[in-house]
């Protein structure tokens, strides 16, 4: 529905999908020659020639359907009036798109549509944005000879069950675009056309939308040409009048969106067709759950307090910043230079994260800076850097179009990276094979038109045993890509590794008792991976959040190298980075041990570069990671912290330890949108800005740098980067940037992989995948082509070391954690939207066998206990769990999921072992002590004294 007539940001609807083909075909449209790829429809060729053939059921992100009969054309030498959408361009074709006969036919078709359609255009929500209206105008409809007294659907009921959009059946023209969008674009198949002929109607199964399989992605709303499927926000507010293209602030897919506005009010977010990560698709969060930005909980005034038990006091920016700076200086004077530090998050843009780490290095004078990646993909950084030389994924998302064997390990993409999962499912429906390695039977294992060839339901904690066993099969069965290994990998490392992996203890048979995976299945899966064609690995936190997280990443890299699956499209090792800018936070050097571009702080050449640019000497020793900051706080040597957008009290493991550390500090500065769990332990609160309120860039899981564009002014008056600048100035280190583009220019000057990045170039290309420099001026979609970044790839020894977290008689079950579709991480954003209608609380998923043994029924309150702590939540019986394994999410503060998780971490990076905690589950009659205490504390620590009027 191309509403806003502005420069074509990919708004033209070509009617049918583009085709890529080597053979080209030239035809004539109304006498004008046009050349297109073979397989292109006449309709699309016409658009290329500048002619928009009228259409209703065709739209270019779906295959042609041919039902509306509006796009008829005449083709010389052929009888009748074929539909241009389903007719392929063939050499020499001469097409006439308009003639008196065609005009009459089209008017007749429109007449039929309008005879069964409400005539309330002027008060309809789609007035001015309705393709039916447009087509009635284009065909010159003047009368409906049938009258309006016949049978019709005008009294059909509305389905308003979904919180974000309405289905008004009376306006439906049964073009099937919504059904096809749900099938082809989203891959959920929740909609169908029920009945035939006049009885045909769109149905979301036997229930309404909310209770159906609909995942509220909005693809149907986007596809609907009339007012039938319409955003409630547009129904309420009217159509937007201007728009800004920006990037989503939720997951690591980084969908490109159009923020559509009336003045300074966002009316809706629509997926941007030209987005290279999402190609015009979206999920419920980015599409609809943006209301949190204007939620009543939003804090818009700076606040300070002397003790965390005092109520907050609203003050001016000047006072808050001066107070915080004063405290930090005092603390450093008393406890030493290394007694303060900071944490960034992926909620912040690249420019903002860069400024925070710059401030900490240059103004604080130490390297105590860390970021959210610590608790999710830090093992990816370590593992891929050690084996390949870069700390990031090797492909772009579109690479999956050429993949023949997809292996998903420790990830649940249909929930956590939905838009990419839809793309992946499209490829699977085309015939690609699928291996899923996950303790749970995730949706991808078996859902509409998708079935895994192999599901390896390993026990949590046995990842490395499984990946080693797969590599063992490949090496011992002669499936090694010897040529690739010889040309591209370090020979000594390979020989050492080959000997190790061939050992009997790494065989599927030997590891079966550790992993629970039947040896035959594992062998078959390994053979498929090695011989099925282009094989790609997609993985998530089920790989990294383990005590052997980094080892597992190396294991996957080894597997990719030994089968030659690196360095071209369709293959690779693809970390599904969880967050919108976690990749960016890492790239920007928001780490205690690395500058931007992954250069170690002890690297003299790199450090000199920064010292010269920043005019200050810099530390060459690694600083503290988040968990180490908390340790040091408990030990009394770390007293002040600046936290931008991260909620460590809710998201980090072993909550008791986190809160002990927080309480031990003397000045905690939190910069965020809301009073989150961490803010309960803060002394200074800087009200931050949401992604709608600032300019900058985010980098997604593809290394794709995209623009974030300010749509509304910052509600607290300052964008996050402006706050950091002021804070730094108050500490004696002014950073005078006038616009984030200047910050990016500095990043580009100092970071070789970003050397060619400018806002101008991003605007021109749409987005840029780093490295972007002289060697790759337009960026790098696929990495390690011809050679690895480090030169030759390294095979590293990945001995299986079982986690020390073991089940015992007292704690006989294993808890693993994760995310779901409708809530996002700590729920700071999604829990303040209508998404709560799908998931108002975290649930404990438990297998029927385990539940029955404990007398637990669906919905019972249960106690979840580990050696670290105890909490309670409601149980959900589910067969997607295996006996012995339970699962929960961490989206709501009250759940206290992390009260239960332990201090165990990845050996190399300290990434917490969230995925393996020994627990017991029993019926509970009331909430746990921790939860009671939590409610009391929260009430006390979130009190705000507002300035009385007339003071």
């Amino acid at each position: 529905m191309a509403l806003i007539q502005e420069t074509d940001h990919g708004e033209t609807d070509y009617g049918t999908p583009a085709r890529i083909a080597e053979t080209l075909v030239t035809i004539e449209i109304d006498g004008k020659p046009v050349t297109v790829a073979r397989g292109t429809s006449v309709m699309r060729a016409a658009v290329e020639a500048g002619v928009q053939v009228p259409k209703l059921c065709a739209t270019d992100n779906m295959e042609a359907f041919g039902s509306c009969r509006l796009c008829l054309v005449e083709i010389e030498g052929r009888r009748g009036t074929p539909a241009s959408c389903t007719t392929l361009a063939e050499p020499g074709m001469k097409v006439r798109t308009q003639s008196p006969k065609i005009a009459k036919l089209r008017r007749g078709v429109m007449e039929l549509y309008i005879s069964d359609h409400p005539l309330d255009c002027l008060t309809c929500a789609a007035n001015g944005d309705c393709e039916l209206q447009d087509m009635a105008g284009v065909v010159g409809l003047r009368e409906v000879r049938y009258g309006y007294e016949g049978q019709n659907h005008l009294k059909a009921e509305k389905d308003q069950s979904n919180p974000y959009f309405t289905f008004d059946a009376s306006k439906c023209i049964v073009c099937s675009r919504c059904v096809r969008a749900c099938d082809e674009v989203q891959g959920t198949f929740a909609l169908t056309i029920q009945g035939r002929g006049f009885e045909s109607k769109v149905a979301s199964g036997p229930t309404n939308f909310l209770d159906s399989e609909c995942v509220s992605c909005g693809a149907c709303v986007q596809a609907c040409p009339t007012a039938t499927l319409m955003e409630k926000s547009v129904i309420d507010n009217g159509l937007p009048e201007h728009s800004v293209i920006t990037t989503c602030a939720y997951c690591g897919v980084g969908c490109s969106f159009k923020a559509e506005l009336q003045g300074n009010q966002v009316v809706r977010m629509t997926p941007h067709k030209d987005g290279k990560a999402n190609h015009g698709h979206s999920c419920v969060k980015g599409r609809f759950a943006w209301g949190y930005a204007t939620h009543k909980d939003r804090i818009t005034k700076p606040m300070i307090r002397a003790r965390i038990t005092d109520p907050w006091r609203e003050v001016t920016w000047e006072e808050a910043i001066t107070y915080a700076a004063g405290e930090f200086k005092r603390i450093q004077a008393k406890y030493g230079r290394d007694s303060i530090g900071g944490i960034t998050s992926s909620r912040c843009t690249n420019e903002e994260t860069y400024l925070v780490q710059k401030m900490i290095r240059a103004a604080f004078g130490n390297n105590n800076v860390d970021t959210c990646a610590r608790v999710c993909h830090s093992p990816t950084g370590y593992g891929l850097k050690s084996t390949f030389g870069t700390s990031a994924g090797t492909q772009d998302f579109d690479s999956v179009d050429e993949t023949d064997v997809i292996m998903v390990i420790g990830a649940n993409p249909t929930d956590a990276h939905p838009v990419f999962a839809s793309h992946m499912k499209k490829r699977l429906r085309e015939g690609a094979r699928l291996i899923v390695v996950d303790p749970r039977r995730i949706d991808l294992v078996r859902s509409a038109h998708v079935q895994a060839d192999y599901h390896l339901p390993l026990l949590p904690g046995s990842n490395v045993a499984v990946i080693n066993a797969m590599a063992h099969v490949i090496v011992t069965e002669g499936l090694v890509d010897e040529q690739f290994v010889r040309e591209r990998c370090e020979p000594e490392d390979f020989e050492l590794w080959r000997k190790f992996i061939a050992e009997e203890r790494n065989s599927p048979e030997a590891t079966e008792s550790i992993s629970g995976v039947p040896a035959a299945d594992l062998r078959a899966a390994a053979r498929l991976f090695a011989t099925g064609g282009n094989a790609a690995i997609y993985y998530g936190l089920g790989v990294t959040e383990h005590s052997q997280g980094s080892t597992m990443v190396m294991g996957m890299a080894n597997l990719a190298m030994v089968t030659g699956n690196i360095g071209r499209r369709g293959v690779g090792v693809n970390p599904l980075r969880g967050q919108n800018n976690v990749q960016g936070a890492c790239d920007m050097g928001s780490f205690p041990h690395e500058f931007s571009g992954y250069r170690h702080v002890s690297d003299d050449a790199a450090r000199l570069l920064f010292e010269e640019a920043w005019h200050v000497p810099l530390q060459n020793e690694p600083g503290l990671r988040i968990s180490n900051m908390l340790d040091a706080a408990c030990e009394g040597t770390f007293k002040g912290i600046y936290i931008e957008g991260e909620d460590i009290v809710q998201s980090d493991p072993n909550t008791q330890h986190v809160t002990a550390g927080m309480t031990a500090m003397e000045c905690v500065v939190v910069q965020d949108l809301f009073l989150n769990e961490t803010a309960s332990y803060a002394h200074v609160f800087f009200p931050g800005s949401s992604f709608l309120e600032k300019d900058g860039t985010f980098t997604n899981a593809e290394r794709r740098i995209s623009r974030v564009r300010k749509a509304i002014p910052p509600m607290a008056g300052l964008a996050d980067w402006e706050i950091t600048m002021r804070f730094s100035a108050a500490l004696g280190y002014p950073m005078p940037y006038r616009h984030p583009s200047e910050i990016m220019d500095e990043i580009a000057r100092l970071t070789p992989t970003f050397a060619g990045v400018t806002y101008e170039k991003i605007d021109q290309l749409g987005s840029i995948q780093w490295p972007c420099n002289a060697q790759a001026p337009e960026g790098t979609p696929v990495m390690h082509i011809g050679g690895f970044v480090r030169g030759k790839g390294r095979f590293l020894l990945t001995r299986f070391v079982p986690t020390e977290e073991r089940t015992t008689g007292k704690f006989p079950l294993i808890l693993t954690t994760g995310r779901i579709l409708t809530q996002y991480n700590v729920g700071a954003q999604t829990a303040r939207t209508e998404n709560n209608v799908w998931h108002a609380e975290d649930l404990l998923e438990i297998h029927p066998f385990d539940a029955e043994n404990r007398g637990i029924r669906e919905g019972d309150r249960v106690s979840l206990t580990s050696r670290a702590g105890q909490t309670t939540l409601h149980a959900h019986i589910s067969e997607r769990m295996q006996p012995g394994v339970v699962y929960t999410t961490f989206h709501h503060g009250f759940t206290g999921a992390n009260v239960v998780t332990t201090e165990f971490e990845d050996w190399a990076t300290g990434c917490p072992e969230y995925k393996v905690t020994a627990v017991e589950v029993t019926l509970a009659r009331r909430m746990s002590e921790w939860q009671e205490h939590y409610l009391e504390t929260r009430k006390q620590t979130t009190q705000i004294l507002t300035e009385a009027a007339g003071d």
């Binding site: 290394d338 690694p622 503290l624 990671r625 001995r799 020390e804 190399a908």
Partner: protein, 63 residues
């Protein structure tokens, strides 16, 4: 702290001795903050009970 050091040692234990010790030492230098290194050095000076032999040797090389 001991646990962390031992975990690192276990990763490198698959390699020939000299390479393994160098690996552990290098890791500690690259990723452990000064206070953490001071703590483990002090611990080793007092005997280093419970530490994997590779970790013990690596920490000795930290000085």
């Amino acid at each position: 702290m001991i646990h962390r050091a031992n975990q690192i040692a276990l990763f490198f234990a698959g390699y020939p001795h000299e390479e393994a010790v160098a690996g552990v030492t290098d890791h500690l230098k690259k990723f452990w903050e000064r206070r953490m290194r001071d703590q483990i050095v002090a611990y080793v000076a007092q005997g280093g009970k419970g530490l994997h032999e590779l970790a013990l040797e690596a920490v000795k090389r930290l000085q």
